[in-house]
Structure formats: structure tokens, C-alpha cells
Symmetry: D2
């Protein structure tokens, strides 16, 4: 699939090795003679190009980080800056602060000039040195600002909504006759972006979640009929829950959005939990935040004092239902609830995520300097790719229930309760 | 202060060095010519005694762990067993399970025979290998059971309520003519036991809380006007909150039971928080669970669906009050609440707590073998002592507001808001 | 590529989903129109098969771990046992101890019966619960023993030499008319096995090496002209060195086997180090143990008191050459040498390696139960495969100098010194 | 014991609470009726004084860190700066770099102006933000420089040699008529400073050493007759070795300077090691660097190529002797040697050391502002004190072999071999 380019690349690259625009990577590397013909989408391979669209000496780049915290944001910022500065010789780099708000001069603070000195140690801490926020920006106002500040390249670090916002900026800039390269680095701690085999931050989240599950297991194991419910990130996909379950081997029930489960009845989750408690005397339950949403619909909606919808919190919902059910069943128990999300997403990137961030960032710079726009960096079969932003929205990435990831969950937990077809 | 002994010690100790019963340690090592005469309480020094009351070959010991989890419980169990077995040659050791419930044969499971093999690796995990529970036991039933099982020595690991329960067991056994040595090891993660300069688990809790405060700081620092409230253990004393504040240097407001603070008005906490947010753009608030109880009394009591009193949770209370106040003040903010208690108390002991547990346990065995009873092991000026259980209840241990601990908090936070005299 | 099978699979699998023998995975997922036709090797996809060769109720399996320590060995053992026991219902599993020595009844200790209870917590520690050793076993004696003990399946966890030994066992057993499934799980902390995109233990080693590099950076940075040389594993390939360099961003020179570098002269490493020291005042050097072997050949060989060849230790060699060179150049410096290998390889597996071990082990059981033999489990493009053992020896896996891994090293270090063509 | 003061304190303190100069702390809090009359040394209690000698607005302070790295150096620097700046209002603070070299304008770099911004995050990393070096400075040149730069207060962070150097500076300044307050913060990772119950960095070192011992245990335990020798800091005292032994419970032999042991013969260490290997199949040996020096004296001295005395390295010596001995005894074994010192001393301070550093630093500022000089901050019975530098040199601090520390080592290891009277 071809990537939009701003124009002809005319400046020689300062690098000594190149990747041709003609190289493609197969989306599907499996050959199954009994299966219908597979998807033949071919993605462009990322990497340095022989000719650049932008003259490094005259180029001005911007960086913005959006959405929730995710381990590795600072690594991405740092590698973008170092790659621009040291490898390509780009000297003017602005960091827009507080997410997309920072593109709007009426709402945000002044952007920060980014230098190798500024980013030197930022990767040693979690969070984002540019801050972050949720929500969109007025496209027209933002493009006015980008043009006024003479920004040629904008690196957008964020989820799919953020990336679509980035595409809108490019299109608006084009209408104004301003050649703006918008290159995205996909960010989702949930690992649910299509065309990216692993998003940065995901593995670090699994590592932290595993630590927390060890605590949960200790809590459950140290009292009679101890039950601990741990809620973890995963709005649309259960990758963190599945990974942490297989890594820790301490979870007895893993609930994910991909498997809408039955709560009540002999086949349901509550009865299965009761059987385990009676037999083994403790249980650890790991629930992704997007699991079991079907259970909380209908007339059950409740609002807290501030008017926020409460009933959609599956962790609290499950805790309360378990409590009520086991009381009814006259089983003594100790029930604890842990919601560690802020402690998982705010840590520095682990080594593997640090490496991944570096690769994503350096490839994003290669793409932008070559004048490519409206894309995000993807990864397929250990190869980094260029993915048109439009393509991102065309698919969803969820747990494949026949994959080792989910089969590993079933083996680790031994869980058995009814679920509806996904 | 003398310690009750079961009778004359007649068996020679297998150890090669001894501590005399006559050695005492001063409670107060400070001489202030301008102060009133100080407390002249003298505590017996712990350690091996030359003669034993119990014949190791015929002695049967029991161990029980009570109350909430605390890092180091398994280290204490392990060192008790190894000291009894290897150093004194005691071969029969029973672990009563599920706390004091385990002393009641009608409620508890069978006790576990404890051997060096059983305890070999238990200190590498958190929790208690003997499980734990809250609540008392029927003294008469328990003593029946202890006599029937021919228990000579009972090691009680728990808080002051647990220790008073242990004293009751000794008195009841004495009435029955059974010589029972009850030796306590004080357990409180809050570090609020008098006559013990530092309880085991406390330092590990501070270390974990410090890790969590780093996350809180990252969360607060990565958004505009980010506020994070962290609730930490500390029902009657703010030692963990103070220690974690000084260790992390990332906290801006530390609230403890010893300092009843004013919430409203220009001098109050909320106005101070607002001033900081306006000036610095973020804030981390660390609140001990026992802080601010005065704020939640009176007509404000609320109950949740299960009938539990809700309003006493200072963390949730503060979060809600901050939310309301800043909304009223029309200040934009992002507010997060973290309650990490289960993640703090369930980890294995750090190195220093592991050492402390070993010393407490080995001294407890020395005391018991010498026939001492109705005491807990204390620590004063780096010296381990024998503290009569009755003495424990006579004092409280709280933060001294002139101590380096609290002065360090004031310096680290720079906090300024009104408080009532403690 | 087809895999040898012991015979017709006749027993229905207890699992509910299957993978067909006909599915293949492409070795090369990249399409380059300008490149010569690529390798068209197709590997069999791993996973559960519909029919089994072995009747689980009558099957006896053995496990052996060989070679040096590697994070994850216990995870592999544990998942093999749990998969055999819980998923397939195999009840007789023997753990041969001390590596291949344990297959020889004249040299080794009795094998250990492996149960879910035995393996329950082994993954929480490093090392191997079955111990390990280097060196081969007398094939004839080992097969005698395996036949006598009625072993149907042998799982071999080890490097390529170990796996070739496993193939020899299968061939010898076949000659004796004993149907022995030998299924290997490739083990190399160096990550240098072909057909396996990442071996278990590698990521954990990178994480630990990164921690150590932080210490090295601190040491170098805290004195004037501080130089720290860190030697890390990597006999034939520099994957750990490259990964740790990119993850830590604290290394200034990374030396790997794939890049034979020049030591002396203006273009050489020593002069480049001198320039850095003069300019920046500190340097961290990370050297893979297999780097620079060409520098130590010839007349320089030296032996220690015990008769061991000393000069091949590139870490010590470099340290001494740096010392001599900078003395000659009259540059003051402080030089430290760190060899942390034992501290890197003995830790428990991190979360991602724990997951990988689980997948490798469960797929190995699937293959063995289906009667496949003479293979190892591989991984290509995130898909687990069956790789004939013979194929393993046909290729080598080393750093591709155009890959993001090595380009990331060059960017992170900025290193510039002459090297010979690889 | 009285502390030298520069003159009458005439400026009111900005603090609201004070400690009187008349308060003293007992060195010995133990009363033993059978012991000879104890030491009656009384130390001045540290803390804020009501009147200051220096006018904060006109005061200029300097800080220097000397000797080897130690966890917590940056915490000390940071708290000194924050206390001077925020609490006392001192605005001019210079950081002299590279240890005492930095006091000599002919040798060192320019000092760094220290501000709250500069020190904001330095405590999150190990090492010293001011660098460090070993060796003295020309006192006359240094005092010239201090006078020229109008330094009123010099904070000296270092060991006893460094502190004696600090006293020399004070005396020389006095001769020149310059009122220089020199206040020391004792720094020794070995914890062997008298009048200081625990030096900063020591507990962090024990924690790291314990981690390393877990690795050593895994290495020893995973092969047949595995032996691991770990060398750890402790030139004159075995506190780190003892602490790590008790904390880890994984060491089988602990060798410290205080216990000169016998190597050969049936009673010796080597025979005891052999017995353990034969009986248990593995051993972990922890040796403090200052242990066994008596074994390496006499004709055995050897020099390396650079002319350094080699034979004094007890770790290498032991490793080689064990190797030779077990070969002679015809016992198969695998022997590993680990020297992790650089990995132990370069990490950031743990929570407890972070707290300790803060207290030491803030008390040092109190003392200096009051015009006290020629002292170091000490700690006795959890109370911070003023210790005249001369007093430091008058005693040594070593392990008391009857203390819980050493008795805990004996219990943890069960070690039995001959040693000479200490």
C-alpha cells in the first residue's frame, strides 16, 4: 500500500544505507492450503530513504504526545529529538505541551525548544516530559499555528483518535498550501492497534501487572477463602490481562472483552468461583476494564454524587456481585479489590519497550524526512512498516481465542464457565 | 522492670555466650539539665540465658500469626523454627493456622508441624505461611487445646490486641497449673508500638510507598494541574506517611493523625492546595488513613449499600472535597486517587526488615527457653529488650512533631496550613 | 519442511481446537522486487493436533535441561509438566537431573518424579530445578536407560549441541525399535539460534544488563575521566550487547563479534576512546565476550597458574590495553572492569520471557503427543513452528548490520572507529 | 563533649523550634551492675539552635564529596542545598567538584553554583552530582581559595581521612583569621565509623548484596557441587557481609576481618567447606575484602604487570586456594567468583538511606549556621549528635562478636571452623 508523499525527494540523505520504497511486507506469513485466499495487503517497509524531501538545515519539527500515560513516551520523545538532531542535523524542534491543547495558542502553554540536553535523562522517568491531555483540537486554529511557527513535520504520539486528528491536520495544511508531514507513532498500552504486533508500553504494563498479581496472590493465599479482584487496563481487548495471566501463573479467572461471560446459574462465573473457593480456599480474579460490559446494561445504571455513571466499572460491579452471592451462599470469605492502573502506566519503560520506542521513533524520522505524511509507523513480523492512517481505522485488533495467548490463559487458569460466542 | 518467669531455670544452655538477667537498658538516653527528671524505666536486655527452664529435648512449641499482613511474617516464622531446631534442639514445633482461630479446634484447621524443610524458602514470599486472621479466641477453649497438645511455649506474632490475648492465655494456663511461656513478637506495619524503636515491615512499607509516590508524582506532573491523592496505612500514627514523604521528596502535602488540620478557610488545607496548583501546576497529597478523622464526625456519616460506615475513609473524603472545592473555584484540574495498601503490605521483607525479623525471632526463643512469659520482644537504642505485655498498653507511640521525622516532612513538603494543637 | 513422525496418530486429542499439519509459515515475509528470489523454506506450524500418537494414559515423559543457566528454565519445566498433566492427562513425568549426565545411570542421580506440586513455585526462582551441566552423554548408555525406564517422550532444553545430542538419542532409539519422541526447546541466552526470532531468557538478560549499565554509567560519570568496561554474554552474536545498548542509552562504545574492529592507529578504537575522554570526560564500553577474538590470536596467548588459556578474555584484554594506552598518552583516568555474567543469567524470567517459555513448552508437548520427533520448537513472525534439528545447524543467526538493532546501536553510541568487513 | 564554635551566635534563627546546647546523649544506655563503670562520654545533641552565628543573607556555603561512591551522596547534597536555601535563606552555595581536588584552583574545575533547580532530581540517580575523588588537597592552597571565594561554611562528605582533612582546613583558616565552619557528614558504605550507629549507604549496600547473594545461591544450587565465592566491601569491618548474610539466609560461610580464620587442617575453613560440599552439594561463601589478610602476608606477596600488589585480594586468593584444595581432594566441583562492588555502591539510595541522608544533611546545616566547626554529625540511640572530628579517630567500630549481628550470622550459616582470638 502506497503512502502519500508531499512531493519529490530531492535532498541526499546523510545516512549510508537505505531502504527502497518498493519493498513490501506481507501481512500474512501463513500458508494454509485449506483456507480461503488470504489478505494480500502489502505494507511499505520503514527505514531510511536515499533522498529526502526536507532539507535538514531548514527543517522545523514539532512533537506532541496525547491521551493517557503509557510507559515509553519519554523514550519516544528523546529518540525523535536525537535522531533529528544527530543523525539528520535538524536543529529546530519544538515540543508542544499538554497534548493537542498545546497546538492551540489560545489554550496551551508556549512550546518547549527540544535539544539533546533537554531530553538527556527524560527516559529514566515515566510520564511525558511534554505532558499530555485527552481531547481534540480545533483543526483550523492548530494549522494556523503550525504554519505561523513554520512547522514542516509534526510527530504525533497517541492512539487512533489522535492519529485521525493528525491526518486532519495534514489535510487542512494541504488545503492551505503548506507541506506538512504528519507522522504518527501509535500509542496504546492496551496493545490493540491493528498492523502493529506490539505497541510500546504494553510489555512494561504486563511486567508491572505481574508484580501486582503476586501481591494479589499473597493476599488471597494468606487468609481463609481469600478472594482478590484485580482490575487492569483493556477497554476493547484483553491483551494485558492475558499476558499478565500467563506471565504470573497466579490468576484463577481471567475476564476479557473478547469473551462475554455468563455471571449467574450453574454454568456461570459466580458458581465457578464458589466451586474453586470450596475446593482450594482462595482465588485471584483478573478483569480487563472492558470485560463484561453486557452485564451492566439496562436498568442497572447508577450515578454517583457527581453525576458520573458508576455502573460501568466492571471491577466494582464484580466485587459487589461476588460479595452478595457468597453471602447468599453462606460461604465465609475475605474479599479485596485492587485497581492499580495508575501504578502500571506511570512507570519508566522496561528494556524491551525502551528498545521498541527507539525503533518507532527513528523510523518515524526517516519517514518524515522523506516527505511521507498521513501515516503511522507499524510493525509486522518484526519489520517496521508505514501504515496509512486511514487503514488503522479499518480493522480492530483483539485476542484471537485460538492463539497461544488465550490458550495459555485457559491452561494457566483452568477456568471453566459459560460464555456467549464472541 | 522484671519479667515473669515460669520457675527456676535448671537446664544448661547449649549456647556459649550469655546475657545476665541483671542487665538493663535505659529508656531515655538523653540528659537535659533543664528538663524535669526523666522516666527511669529500666528494661531487661534480651538474649541467651545461661540456664534454661525448658529441657529442649522435651519441649513443644507453637507459633501463631494474627492480624493484617505485614512484610516479614514468614521471616519471623522461619527464624523461630530454625532457632528452636538448630540452636536449641527443640524438635516439636506446631504452626497454628489462620491466626487465633487456629487455637480453637472447633473453628480452625489442624496445625502444621514446622520443620527446617517446611520453612526453607517461605521468607522469599510475602504473606504468612500460617495464614492469619483478625479477632480473638475463646481463652478457655484455646488453653484446653494447648494443654491437650502439650504446648510449652507459644510464640504470638501480632499487634497489641493480639499480645493482650497472649497474656490472657498465659494467665489461664497458670490457673490450670500448666506452665506456658507466651512470648510475643510485636507486629504493626504502622510502627506505632511503644518500647520498639522500629517494628518489622515498617521499612519495607516505606520503600514500597516511596515507589508508589514516584508513580503518583509522574501522574500529577504529566497533566495540567494534576492532583494525586495517595492514602497509606497509619491508623493512629503517621510514621509510614512521614517516612515515605522524606524518602521520596515528591510529596507536597502530608496529612497524619498527629496533626488535626483545618480543611476550609484561607488558612485551611484546601486553600493551600489551590495556591500550590495555581503556582506550580501539580500536587501530590499523602494521607495516612487515620488522619482527619475529626473532619468526618457529626452529621456527615454515610453508609454504603451494605450498611458499612463510609464517611470514615479520609482518602475518599478528601478526594471528594478537593473535587468539589476546585470546581467551585473554577480551577481546571485532573484528580486521581490511589489506595495501594494491599500492594504495600503483601511484599516480601526488604533486607533490613529481614534482619530485624531474625533478631526479634531469635531473641524470642532465648526468652521462652529461659521460662520467661507474658512479654514481648522490644528494641531500644539498638538493644533488644523484654517488655511486659502490660507495659505495652500503658503508652502510645506517635510522631513527635519536633523530631527529625516530622521536621523532615515539613522541609520536604514546605506545607503550610492551619492545624489544631495535637 | 516436513517433520519426522514416529507413526500414525491414532488417539483423539482431549483438546477442542487443532492446527493442521498442512499449514506452513513463510520464512521471509518481505517482498523486494529488486532482490534475487528469496528463500522459500516453509516451516510447519506448531500447535495441538487432532490425533495423538501416544495414548496419554500410558505415556511416560522425561525432561532434561542442559548447558549454562538461562532465565526461564524453571518456567519451561513447569509448563511442560502442567501441560502434560492437566491438558493431556499424562501422569508419569521424570525429571533427569544435572543435564545429560542424568541420562547415564552410572554418573547421575536418580531422576525426580515431576508433579504439579513439585513445580508449583519453581518459576519464582532462577536456575533450574533439575540442575544442569555441560557436556554430552554416551548415547548408547542413555538410550538403554530411557528404554529401561520406558520413556516415550524426551523434552530436551538446551543449545544446538544439546539438540544434536537429542537427535542422536532418537536415532539410536529407532535402531533399537523404541519409538522415542525427542522434542527440543532451544535455549540460548545469546539469542543466536536460527529460525527462532527470540529465545527465552534473552529479554531478561537485556533488562538485567541495562540495570548494570546504569551502574557503569554512574561509576564512569562520578569521577574525572571515568572509564568502565562491561563484558556481557555473546559468544557468536552481539544481540544482548546491542539490545542493552539501545535500551540503556548509556553506552558509548559497543563491541560485538559481528564487527571485527581495529584497535590501534588513528582510526582505531583506542584513539576513538581517547578523543571521547578528552571531549566528554567519561566513557562506558560494552563488549560481548565473543568480540575482538581476532585481536588476541597469534603469539599473545597466555596461560594462568592453572593452565587455562587467559588471553581469550576480551574484557580483561581490553581493560589492560586501555590502561597501557592511556598511560602512554599521559591521560589521567579511572578504569573499572565489570563482568556481571553470573548476575545476569541467574535471575528469574521477566514477564515477557515467562510468557515465551510457556508458549514454547506447551507447543513442545503438542508436538510430542502427536508423535513428532527430532525437532525443536521455533518461532517466526510471532508464529511457533516445528524446526527439524538438522536444519538448526545449517545456518547461523547474527546481528544484521543494517537492522534497526545495529543501527540503533550506532545512533545511541555515536561510535566511530574502523572495522574490517564482517 | 563540647564543640568548638566560631564565636558568639547573634542572629535569630528563622525556625520555630530549638535544641539547647546543653542537652547531651549518653554513649552507653546499658546498665550492667557486674560490669566496670562504663564510658561516660556525653555527646552534644544536634538540631536547630535558637541563635545563629552566620547571617543567612550574607552567608556563602560550599559542599564537597570525597572518596569512593556510596548510595545517598546526591541525597545529602540535595538536602544540604534545600535546607540552606528554603529553611535558612542562604542563597549562595557552591559545589566543589571532583572531591578535594576541586578545592585547588590549579587542579580542579570551576565549582558549580547549587540551586534548588540543580538538585531537583539528582537523588533519583546514584553517584555524586559533584563527582568525587580520593586523596588530600594542599591545605594552604585550599584555604587560599576558600577565603578568596568568601566561603563561610564548608560541608565535607567523606570518610575519616576526609574529615581529618576538613579539620585541617578549619585550623588553617583560623590561623588566617577566617571564620570557617567545617561540618562533616560521615560517609562509609562499610558502616565502620564510631559514634554513628548507621552510616548512609550501608543499608542500600546490604539490600543490593542480598540480591546478588540470591543469584549466587541460584548459581551454586543449579550444578552439582556448585561453589560461589562473593567478595563484598568491608576493609576493616564486616558489617555489610554480616547484614547481607542474615538478610539473605543463603550464605554458608561468612568471612570478616574481625574473625581471623584458619585455612588449613581439619579445623580449617577448607576442610569445613569440603564437608559441606560432600554433605549438601553446594556452598555460597561471602568474604569481606578485609578478611583473611593474615593469610596473605609473608613470602606470598605477588605483583601484577603494573606493579600492583596482587596477593592481598582475599577473594581471588580464596578462589584459587579452594580450587587447588578440592582438586587435591579429588572432589568434582564448579567454582564461580563474583566481585560485585561497583554494582553495589553505584545504585540510588533506598528509602531508609534516603531518609538518613536527609536527617544528616539538615542537622549539618543547623550546626554550621550556629557557628559550630570541626565536627561531624553522628547518631547514637536514634538521636543525631555533634562529634568532634578528633574523637572520630580515637576509636574503631567493628562487629561485636556477641552482638545479634554476628550471632545471627552464626545461626544463618551454621559455620564451624577454627579462628584465632579476635
Amino acid at each position: 500500500m502506497n503512502i502519500t508523499v508531499l512531493g519529490e525527494a530531492r535532498y541526499p540523505s546523510p545516512l549510508s544505507h537505505f531502504v527502497s520504497d518498493k519493498i513490501r511486507v506481507l501481512l500474512n506469513a501463513v500458508i494454509d492450503p485449506d483456507a480461503p485466499p488470504s489478505d494480500d495487503l502489502l505494507l511499505e517497509v520503514a527505514g531510511p530513504r536515499e533522498m529526502l524531501y526536507f532539507d535538514p538545515k531548514k527543517t522545523r519539527a514539532g512533537i506532541v504526545t496525547c491521551g493517557g500515560l503509557c510507559p515509553g513516551l519519554n523514550n519516544v520523545i528523546r529518540s525523535l529529538v536525537l535522531q533529528l538532531h544527530h543523525v539528520y542535523g535538524v536543529r529546530e524542534i519544538l515540543g508542544f505541551v499538554n497534548g493537542y491543547q498545546g497546538l492551540d495558542p489560545w489554550r496551551g502553554a508556549e512550546p518547549i525548544p527540544l535539544t539533546p540536553e533537554f531530553v538527556e535523562d527524560i527516559h529514566k522517568g515515566g510520564g511525558s516530559a511534554l505532558n499530555t491531555s485527552r481531547g481534540p483540537v480545533d483543526v483550523s486554529v492548530a494549522v494556523d499555528n503550525l504554519i505561523r511557527r513554520k512547522i514542516d513535520i509534526l510527530f504525533v504520539v497517541g492512539g487512533d483518535g489522535t492519529q485521525r486528528g493528525g491526518a486532519a491536520l495534514y489535510h487542512e495544511a494541504k488545503l492551505r498550501g503548506h507541506a506538512l508531514a504528519v507522522v504518527g507513532i501509535p500509542k496504546t498500552i492496551d496493545n490493540d492497534v491493528p498492523f502493529v504486533s506490539r505497541t510500546f508500553g504494553y510489555l512494561t504494563a504486563v511486567e508491572e501487572a505481574t508484580r501486582i498479581l503476586t501481591c494479589a496472590h499473597t493476599e488471597a493465599h494468606s487468609v481463609e477463602n481469600g478472594i482478590v479482584v484485580v482490575k487492569i487496563m483493556g477497554r476493547h481487548a484483553g491483551f494485558i490481562a492475558a499476558g499478565a495471566t500467563v506471565a504470573s501463573q497466579d490468576v484463577n479467572f481471567t475476564l476479557v472483552p473478547e469473551v462475554p461471560f455468563v455471571l449467574d446459574g450453574e454454568d456461570g462465573f459466580l458458581a465457578a468461583l464458589k466451586r474453586r473457593i470450596v475446593k482450594r480456599g482462595h482465588a485471584v480474579i483478573l478483569v480487563a476494564e472492558g470485560a463484561g460490559q453486557h452485564l451492566m446494561s439496562g436498568g442497572e445504571k447508577q450515578y454517583d454524587a457527581s453525576g458520573n455513571l458508576k455502573s460501568k466499572d466492571i471491577g466494582v460491579f464484580l466485587r459487589d456481585r461476588i460479595h452478595t452471592y457468597l453471602k447468599e451462599q453462606d460461604i465465609p470469605f475475605t474479599l479485596r479489590y485492587i485497581d492499580p492502573s495508575y501504578l502500571v502506566r506511570s512507570v519508566p519503560a522496561g528494556a524491551e519497550d525502551a528498545i521498541l520506542c527507539d525503533f518507532f521513533a527513528r523510523n518515524a524520522v526517516h519517514a518524515a524526512m522523506a516527505g511521507k505524511t498521513g501515516l503511522v509507523i507499524g510493525q509486522q513480523h518484526d519489520i517496521f512498516t508505514h501504515v496509512p492512517i486511514e487503514l488503522l481505522a479499518s480493522r480492530k485488533k483483539q485476542l484471537d481465542l485460538n492463539s497461544p495467548e488465550w490458550q495459555g490463559v485457559l491452561s494457566a487458569t483452568g477456568q471453566e464457565f459459560a460464555h456467549f460466542p464472541a
